[in-house]
Point group: C2
Chain length 263, copies 2
């Protein structure tokens, strides 16, 4: 319909937020359609923008603290400010951006305290999710997970940090979907997203990012249907992740801004 009208003077490169419009759906097992929704937005342009920004942030293509002007976002995606605004609000609710009245939206910059809280929450929730996943995983799920790990390896091999991190987080989300717990899955989604911000700010370990063998171990536990093992492995994995953060340091000074996104 209307969006195709590229003729408009609005050129401004589309910033190519990431890959094609490929939506992640598909592969997942029984998860179902509704379970995969990141935001509680009705399908539409706003959701598309939301998903794109979400990915861009998760892949560290936009730095924490960057300003997300409504005008800019709108023009960038060829939509009006109204739509951009809705997308930013959705992002704000998921904790990825903060909004200040009459000031605008900014990519969130979780402080040390919040970072600790996020990982404490993950340490509480995800082991249980892993346990449930072990109880629910079917052959199709295992196949999908194996393919996912493969993709993770490829990203690491290609030294594509952003994508590797993104996939690593997505692994946790897939587990939640397999566990067939939509409520917990929603929480995991939000926590993983915020974790990405935290990692962007406080990560200190330079070596193999999240490519720890924990994911493989989890796969094994799931295959064996060993819920207790999955629980324990996940707990250790989260603790390990947190240990890779430097939570004694003060948040690095606010980085420049939107221009840090490649402009």
């Amino acid at each position: 319909m209307p969006p195709s009208t590229p003729g408009a003077p609005r050129q401004s490169r589309p910033v190519r937020p990431a890959a094609p419009p490929a939506d992640r759906g598909g592969a997942g097992g029984r998860g179902g359609a509704a379970a995969g929704r990141l935001f509680s937005l009705p399908p539409g342009r706003a959701l598309e923008i939301c998903a794109n920004l979400h990915r861009a942030i998760l892949e560290h293509r936009i730095a924490p603290g960057a300003k997300l002007s409504e005008d800019e976002v709108g023009e960038l995606f060829g939509a009006s400010r109204t739509v951009a605004r809705a997308a930013l609000h959705a992002l704000a609710h998921s904790g990825l951006v903060t909004m200040e009245r009459n000031r605008g939206a900014f990519v969130a910059r979780p402080d040390k305290r919040e970072a600790n809280e996020v990982f404490e929450a993950r340490a509480l929730i995800e082991p249980r999710v892993a346990r449930m996943a072990a109880a629910h995983a079917g052959p199709a799920d295992m196949t999908a997970l194996r393919a996912h790990l493969e993709a993770e390896h490829e990203a690491v091999a290609a030294d594509d940090k952003g994508r590797a991190l993104s996939l690593s987080g997505e692994f946790h989300i897939r587990l939640a979907d397999i566990a067939d717990q939509q409520v917990l899955a929603g929480m995991v989604r939000a926590l993983v997203a915020r974790s990405s911000l935290i990692i962007a700010l406080y990560w200190r370990r330079v070596d193999a990012t999240c490519e720890s063998h924990a994911h493989h171990a989890l796969l094994d536990a799931l295959e064996a249907g060993d819920g207790a093992a999955a629980d324990e492995i996940m707990r250790g994995h989260i603790v390990d992740l947190r240990s890779g953060l430097d939570l004694g340091e003060r948040p690095p000074a606010a980085t420049s801004l939107a221009e840090a996104l490649g402009r």
Copy 2:
């Protein structure tokens, strides 16, 4: 302040959705300001509408399934559709309303499955929160909690079901605030809100609603600084709550609509 410009032809009484504009702040202990925010909206009219609808839903003044027309909500609160829309979106993000494209917003009607998931999540999260609260609670917190229990009793004595339920839920939120865990507190807030919808749909126990002595027992555990006890009591409390639901029954047919809110 600014909206005083009543000159506009828009009269429509503000509908006084519930009680005075009393915001719940204050009493809470160290929680702080930011912790108490229900929605990630910048202060403004939208937040006010959001909070009002939120309370109305939590007090069962609006039934699950009721339609929330943008026009209607807007005129009801003397705001334009734009603002109403933002408020409804915020509510949708917190899971209290569902939005269907080109159809509108409706108060959510969690199905049996979702109800179970919500209480499973609460059974996982809240015991831990209670344990943390026991470790953090100070004298001021205890005083506030005692006052809160007092209010709960009063509401029950006055046979004000809606308010009693609302206060009962708020008790759980206060615990999360005392625990000084904003992330978990946010989750508890959302879960409590959804629980209210679930109770509206599936509650079967007619006797003393949530006025079980569990809250008193929790108070005692907190006072003694006994985290383990608080954990266990809370777990039992959640299980008890869930046992009061009839999750074998099919959701009652959708009630009329917004007019059920007293207008």
